[in-house]
Structure formats: structure tokens, C-alpha cells
Amino acid sequence: MKAGGIRTRLAAIAAVALVGLAGCGGDDGDGTAAPAASASGSGVSGSVTVFAAASLTESFTQIGKDFETANPGTKVTFNFAGSPQLATQINEGAPADIFAAASPTTMKTVTDAGNGDGTPVTFVKNQLVIAVPKGNPKGVTGLSDLTKPGVKVALCAEQVPCGAAAKKALDAASVKLTPVTLEQDVKAALSKVKLGEVDAALVYRTDAKAASSDVDGIEFSESSGAINDYPLVVLKNAPNKTAAQAFVTYIQSDKGKAVLTAAGFQAP
């Protein structure tokens, strides 16, 4: 079912790429990326290395494949991890072309170190949901249910964006809860729910959606107070700036946006 969906989508993208080369590079990017936009589909080649937040794993992998199909001769490789860890790697000289972070604070550590090329662009927003095992056995409906005795909760550590957002949301709701664990990134928190080791975790809506065969995502009102902006930047020492710029434009194109929206991200 899922694989079929991807295949159809790939086929559709390929068709678009074949038929509409001339139509490519519409005016969907922001001003700064405009020159590179026209290069999309022609003249772009080589490999692009993207360091992206763990929560972008599914959607960026898909967009990367679409981009490779639309631009033969390109190869997009990803390094997915907690944003701050990626920021450290970049600031220590890792050879990356693009950095996509799950929070502006993390992005700032890279731009402050002078490693960004231009100003980062916010390309999506993400919101927290409560992930519970399929069928919601503990009957969780809101944040306050997480403080009930016998409900084990996993949060992200405050050092990573999903943890910072969780803290903001809990503070906004004045809910005090003691998690059993503070996980190192959002995927780790989610996997604790998948394995049934905890009864709930605060994760991004996109992560809950990606794992919808194992978990249910429960929306809660206070999450609107803790929305994460995802900024994106081409790096100053990017080995392949042209292709990197083209990929950034592609992410912000209608095709890229469609994948991101389908994954549960919100438009900025």
C-alpha cells in the first residue's frame, strides 16, 4: 500500500519532469533563491549532502528521491540526527551543503559561527502531539492525563528542540509531570512508545503520522503555544553550492511542499 503510493508518486514526478522541463523553476521560491531556481532540471549535477533534523527523515528522503529523478546526475545524501548534534558537526567542519534544523535556536549556533551562506529560511512548522500506543489503551485525551499515576511518559531532553517545545507546552498548560526518561531525539522518544515501554510521549505530529501503524497521535490545545519553526540554510563551505541551492529551491517548490504537508508539517 505504502510502497505503491510512493511508486505512483515517483512516476508522477518523473512524468512532470519529462513533460514540463520548460515549466520548471516557477516563481515559488523566495527572492534570494530565484537565480538558482531557473537552473532546476538543467545544469545541476553532483552530490548534495544534507544535514537534517531527525523529524525530517521521511519527508526529506522522499524529496531527495524526487529531486534526483527531476535532475538526473544528482545524488542527495542525508545525515539525519538531533539538530544540535548536527550543528556541532557542522561547526567542527563536517563537509555538508545544507543544514535543516528543527529550531531557530539551533540554526543560530551555526549562523553565529559564520557557517551559513545567507539568511536561513523558515520552510515548515511542526507541532507537538501526544503519541500513544495504537488504540490508546490508557485513554489519554490531553496533557493533564499524562500526570495520572501509572502513566509512563517519555519526553525529549530539553537540549534538543522537541524537548524544548515539550517544556514550553507543559509550562503553558501548567502541567507538572515527571517523565521516566528524557530521550536524545524525537525518534528515540517515539520508539519507546512503539516498543510499549512507555504509555505516552510528546513528539512532533509528523513523527506520530510517520509511525501511524504503531501509534496514535493525540492533538492537544496547548501545543499551539509551542510551534517549532524549521529553518534551512545553504552552508558557507558547501562543496556543491549550485546543486545545494537548487535542492533548497526544490524543497520550497510546490512538489516539495506537497511531500512536507502530506507528512504533517504546516506551512510557515
Binding site: G82, P84, Q85, T88, N91, E92, K152, A154, A157, Q159, V160, P179, V180, T181, L182, E183, Q184, A188, K192, L195, G196, E197
Partner: protein, 268 residues
């Protein structure tokens, strides 16, 4: 550390030995030098007194020591079995002992969850019968560390047993000692240095354990957050803090290991 090296063969040290020896030493020591060079020496004292640091350090030392004890109690008999008893499938068992060495620790952590987790094969029984849950507890940390560190002890002790002169054991047997008496009164004293060396290796490995611990026991300050976990999370936001934590862990462990080594291994 001055260990007297007896010179059995005189003459110049051959170049094919001294050059790679020097290179390997350099290779092992340079990363440490990197840490020392980048360490924020001026802020070191105040970092040391940050409350979370000592808690994590204490937990690390406690859990590594308990894990080592567990490994000695369970691992020495296993090593004896492998070295002294002929049984079908001994080769397979010996290979199985090394599995935790080859398994990526994170996978080891997942495997432990699948067995000892709330829905695990043994874990669900422990939970329903005794109300015992192991994940996210300090006991869980000890188990994860013991799982990863056990092979170091078993391999070292088995090696010592195989190298030991079996004539003493035979003599004890001819004098009427049973297998258990022979083991406690002859074998064990004979291989004590080997057990000590294995225990030191085992302790060191347990102290540095990260992957299995964070996966199986999670990360919660004071309960399951050992030094390696604290280092990893510090790395998310503050490289310098991570370096300081690493140096503390290194200093403490090297001091302990060096003093034990002089006492146990170099004495006879």
C-alpha cells in the same frame, strides 16, 4: 607507573616494531590531546561543581562497579565451563559469548527491551508476577552495562584458565579434592590475576557504556543518566561542557584503573 621490563633478549629494538608501536600510541593518545587542547580550563572548576555532574559521575561509578560484580559472579563460572569442560557445542557457546562485542550497543539495548521490557518475553512476566520493571531504572543500567561488558571478563578469564598449569588441579584431584574444592582452593587463586585483569577491562567497558544504556534504561538525571549519557546530551548544546565531562570521566577512570593495576597486576 613504573613497570620494570626484564630484558631477556639484548640488542637494538627492531625498527619494524618500534615504528608501528609509536604510531599506534600516537593514534590512541592524539584524540585525548585534542580534548585537552580544547578544554575550557578557566571555567573548569565551576563546571565541576555543577550539581548534575557529580550525580552522573556517582551513578556511573556505582553502576559500573555493580555490573562488574555481576559479571564476575556469573562470568567466571562460564569461563571455567568453557575452559575445563568438554561438551558438545562448546565452540558455538564460545562464539555466542562474543555476540555483545559485535552487536552495536544500541541494538543490544533494543534486544534487552525485547526480553526484559514491559512487553518483553521475561519482562512481561516479571511485571505481572512481581511488579518489577527494569527499563528506566538504575537496575536497568546495571543490566545493560553487564550485557555489554561480560564478554571482556569471560574471554580474559578463559584465556587465563587455559594458560594455567592444570597439574595443580590434577594433583588436588588425586589428593581427593572434589571439583568445587579444587576450583575454590586451587584454580581460582591460580587465575586471580587473570580475573582481576578481566574485571578491570569489564569495569572500564561498563563505565563507558552508552548505546545499550540509553536504549534500554533511558536517560533520567540521578536514576539512569550516567556520565556517557550526560556527555552526549551536553554535546547537543555545549561542546565545551561535553569536553569537560569527558575529561572528568577520563581522569577518574584512569586514576582508578592505574591504582588498581599497580595493586593487582604488577605485584606478584
Amino acid at each position: 607507573m613504573t613497570v620494570a621490563t626484564p630484558r631477556r633478549v639484548r640488542g637494538r629494538i627492531p625498527l619494524p616494531l618500534i615504528v608501528p608501536a609509536g604510531l599506534s600510541l600516537l593514534f590512541l593518545v592524539l584524540p585525548l590531546a585534542g580534548l585537552l587542547i580544547r578544554a575550557p580550563w578557566t571555567t573548569l572548576p565551576q563546571r565541576l561543581t555543577e550539581p548534575g555532574v557529580l550525580t552522573a559521575l556517582r551513578l556511573s561509578l556505582q553502576t559500573a562497579t555493580l555490573a562488574t560484580l555481576l559479571c564476575v559472579v556469573l562470568g567466571v563460572p562460564l569461563a571455567w565451563l568453557l575452559a575445563r569442560i568438554e561438551f558438545p557445542g562448546r565452540r558455538v557457546v564460545r562464539a555466542l559469548v562474543t555476540v555483545p562485542l559485535v552487536l552495536p550497543p544500541v541494538v543490544g539495548g533494543v534486544a534487552l527491551l525485547l526480553v526484559f521490557g514491559r512487553r518483553g518475553i521475561l519482562g512481561s512476566w516479571l511485571d505481572s508476577t512481581f511488579g518489577i520493571t527494569l527499563p528506566f531504572t538504575t537496575t536497568g543500567v546495571v543490566l545493560a552495562e553487564a550485557f555489554v561488558a561480560m564478554p571482556f571478563l569471560v574471554i580474559a578469564v578463559e584465556g587465563a584458565l587455559r594458560g594455567a598449569d592444570t597439574r595443580y588441579e590434577e594433583a588436588a584431584a588425586t589428593l581427593g579434592a572434589g571439583r568445587w574444592t579444587t576450583f575454590t582452593h586451587v584454580t581460582l587463586p591460580l587465575v586471580a590475576p587473570g580475573v582481576a585483569a578481566g574485571a578491570v577491562l569489564c569495569w572500564a567497558r561498563a563505565l563507558g557504556e552508552f548505546g545499550a544504556t540509553i536504549t534500554f534504561a533511558g536517560n533520567f538525571p540521578g536514576r539512569t543518566q550516567t556520565m556517557p549519557l550526560a556527555v552526549y546530551l551536553a554535546l547537543e548544546t555545549d561542546l565545551q561542557a561535553a569536553i569537560v565531562l569527558s575529561l572528568i570521566l577520563l581522569a577518574v577512570s584512569v586514576t582508578i584503573l592505574a591504582s588498581l593495576r599497580d595493586k593487582w597486576i604488577a605485584s606478584p
